[in-house]
């Protein structure tokens, strides 16, 4: 049973990091479909950098940087050039798919996967729990209270929420709306980039398209979790749990197809409000244009 708990935590890690990232972007009013592409780019960067430097830490830092860069591109497209936020997000996901594969040919002469990378090795003294729960999983869990504190207890958090709810009002108070939104989007890149690093460092390989839709599931978790850090944690743990169940229990009456559909069904249930209506920031997806 404890093994199932650990599996849940590991499976939830990339979803949680991407979900928290998405929260910072969307609380500021910017829809972020690019999470999928950021995860993939982060995974590629972490594997490549740690392959060449031999350091997993360097890989994670580079993945965070790459994530912020891709997120910055999303912010540039949607805030500066006024491209529809959904369109920009989808375009970035396509770009990430093509770009990572293209770069894989350049760095590794393979369209399929990278060479093996070492990843994090757990220190002997802590080997008990750390072999089951990777360091990035612990970081992801710690990120939840920190994200809550930033969002609800700091000046930046207040401004972010206000531009997400009513950018005109925020603007009239002298808040630079687009700057605050940019910061929110960049934060989403930082967090989702780290989530990508978890994918490739934990599997010890980068594999083409290895994000496998996890960015979209993170978005579903964000909605199901009502754009709230605690909610996102609960939702990603639930999705991680249903996903892990498949390997741990051989239940014939619970079809795999149903389990895989579950995150999306739950999201829709949350949207129509069966268990407490889920409502996003008021100005979500609407571009603020200063007169």
């Amino acid at each position: 049973m404890i093994a199932l708990l650990f599996a849940t935590l590991r499976t939830a890690t990339p979803l949680l990091l991407a979900g928290l990232g998405g929260m910072f972007s969307e609380r500021g009013g910017v829809v972020n479909l690019a999470l999928e592409g950021i995860l993939l780019t982060g995974a590629f960067t972490a594997a490549t950098v740690s392959y060449y430097t031999g350091s997993a830490t360097a890989g994670v830092l580079a993945a965070i940087l790459a994530g912020a860069l891709i997120a910055g591109l999303h912010a540039l497209m949607s805030l500066k050039f006024r491209v529809d936020q959904v369109v920009s997000g989808v375009a970035i996901n396509m770009l990430a798919m093509g770009l990572t594969e293209f770069l894989m040919w350049i760095f590794f002469d393979s369209g399929s996967n990278s060479p093996r990378v070492d990843g994090f090795s757990s220190p002997e003294a802590l080997s008990g729990i750390l072999t089951e729960v990777p360091i990035l999983t612990i970081c992801a869990l710690l990120a939840v209270p920190i994200a809550a504190w930033v969002l609800f207890r700091t000046r930046f958090g207040l401004r972010l929420r206000s531009v997400g709810e009513h950018p005109e009002a925020a603007d009239s108070l002298g808040i630079r709306v687009h700057l605050v939104q940019l910061q929110g989007v960049l934060l989403s890149g930082v967090l989702a980039g780290a989530g990508g690093a978890f994918l490739s460092l934990n599997a010890h390989y980068f594999v083409k398209n290895m994000s496998a839709g996890r960015g979209y599931i993170a978005l579903a978790a964000l909605i199901f979790g009502k754009w709230h850090p605690g909610g996102v944690l609960a939702a990603t743990l639930l999705f991680g749990f249903t996903e892990s169940l498949q390997g741990h229990l051989h239940i014939s009456w619970l079809p795999v197809r149903f389990v895989q559909m579950l995150p999306y069904v739950l999201t829709m249930v949350a949207l129509v409000g069966v268990i407490g209506r889920s409502k996003g920031p008021l100005a979500l997806g609407r571009l603020f244009v200063k007169d």
Partner: protein, 334 residues
């Protein structure tokens, strides 16, 4: 207007990034050479498994017969048919689709280009004289590694992890189970699939989790038939100090000391034979099925696993192989 133009430029850039990555052309063009094109499956060239095996056959034929070989890697599902059509359009003599996912696309394109030869690996296309279907009796090879896994296991529990759920991968499991039960009737076999879509062949994160869960339930030898998802399976086995069995290509080198053996499916030989027949002018359309007795399936033994795969395990597998070839054992397919 400015926004539209920027958007268009952005989309074009994305297209460029996808397009440029998907096609690699190698080999000098010359008109009198036979031209053979190969389109890869999910996972792609460099997977150290299924696609690489097919690629080795292409390269061997290229070196031996001086054909012009061109590879194409579809970026997304929808590019599969387009890739085939493009090669057919350019007047290739033979176009090879690697993987059952190509079955429908090849059927369509081959109908439109009756003068061009096609081959499909792992798919069955009936009634077309210009299409050679190259299929394997995977269950026979899996039977051997299943027997080896069962005899090697100390816990009496062995595992199987498949990629996308479906008839093809099911056959791997059926053969593996039958082989294990044949030599050790009390063996327990755990099995999981990584998913229901083609991405199940390229999700090592999922593969690792499934393997960890099987190891948690006592499995100490795990066979994977899951493309690059299997990289994660092998990593889990390495982490927990149990054994893994590779698939399609010889994967022993990926984790010496962890790999008990690999179930080799010699797609390279099938591809090579098909090209050879084309060169000799004796291309055969229809079903070409390959099995154990022609050496298209088997287990790998090399310097990386010699310590693990004992002579006794090899002897058992060899005698089982002889019985299968002689028809005394029939390995179930379903």
């Amino acid at each position: 207007m400015k926004r539209m133009i920027l958007l268009l430029m952005f989309v074009a850039l994305c297209g460029l990034a996808c397009g440029s990555s998907s096609e690699g052309e190698r080999g000098a063009q010359s008109d009198d050479n036979l031209k053979v094109g190969m389109v890869f499956d999910i996972g792609g060239k460099g997977d150290r498994s299924f696609n690489d095996s097919a690629y080795r056959g292409l390269i061997q034929a290229k070196e031996e017969f001086g054909i012009t070989a061109v590879e194409f890697e579809p970026g997304q599902d929808s590019d599969r048919e387009q890739g085939l059509r493009k090669l057919a359009d350019r007047g290739f003599d033979l176009v090879i689709g690697v993987g059952f996912l190509f079955t429908e696309s090849i059927r369509k394109v081959a109908t439109d280009y009756p003068d061009i030869h096609f081959a499909i690996v792992d798919g069955r296309i009936e009634g077309m004289s210009n299409v050679a279907s190259l299929t394997f009796r995977e269950e026979e090879g899996c039977f051997l590694v299943g027997a080896q896994a069962a005899l090697k296991s100390e816990t009496g529990v062995i595992g199987f992890i498949g990629g996308m759920k479906g008839d093809l991968i099911k056959r791997f499991l059926t053969g593996y189970s039958a082989g294990a039960l044949a030599v050790r009737p009390d063996i327990r076999i755990l099995s999981n699939y990584a998913g229901l879509t083609p991405t199940a062949f390229s999700d090592p994160v999922k593969g690792k989790e499934l393997a960890l869960s099987q190891i948690g339930q006592g499995a100490d030898v795990i066979f994977h038939a899951s493309g690059t998802t299997g990289n994660g399976v092998i990593e889990a086995a390495r982490e927990k100090g149990v054994l893994a069995i590779g698939v399609d290509s010889n994967q022993n080198h990926m984790a010496p000391g962890t790999m008990l053996t690999s179930m080799e499916k010699r797609v390279d030989r099938a591809v090579y034979t098909t090209i050879k027949r084309l060169v000799q002018g004796s291309f055969q359309g229809g079903f070409n099925e390959f099995g154990l007795e022609t050496g298209h399936l088997g287990y790998s033994l090399d310097e990386h696993n010699r310590d693990l795969l004992t002579p006794r395990l090899c002897a058992v597998a060899d005698s089982l192989a002889a019985e299968i070839a002689a028809g005394r054992i029939t390995v179930p397919r379903k």
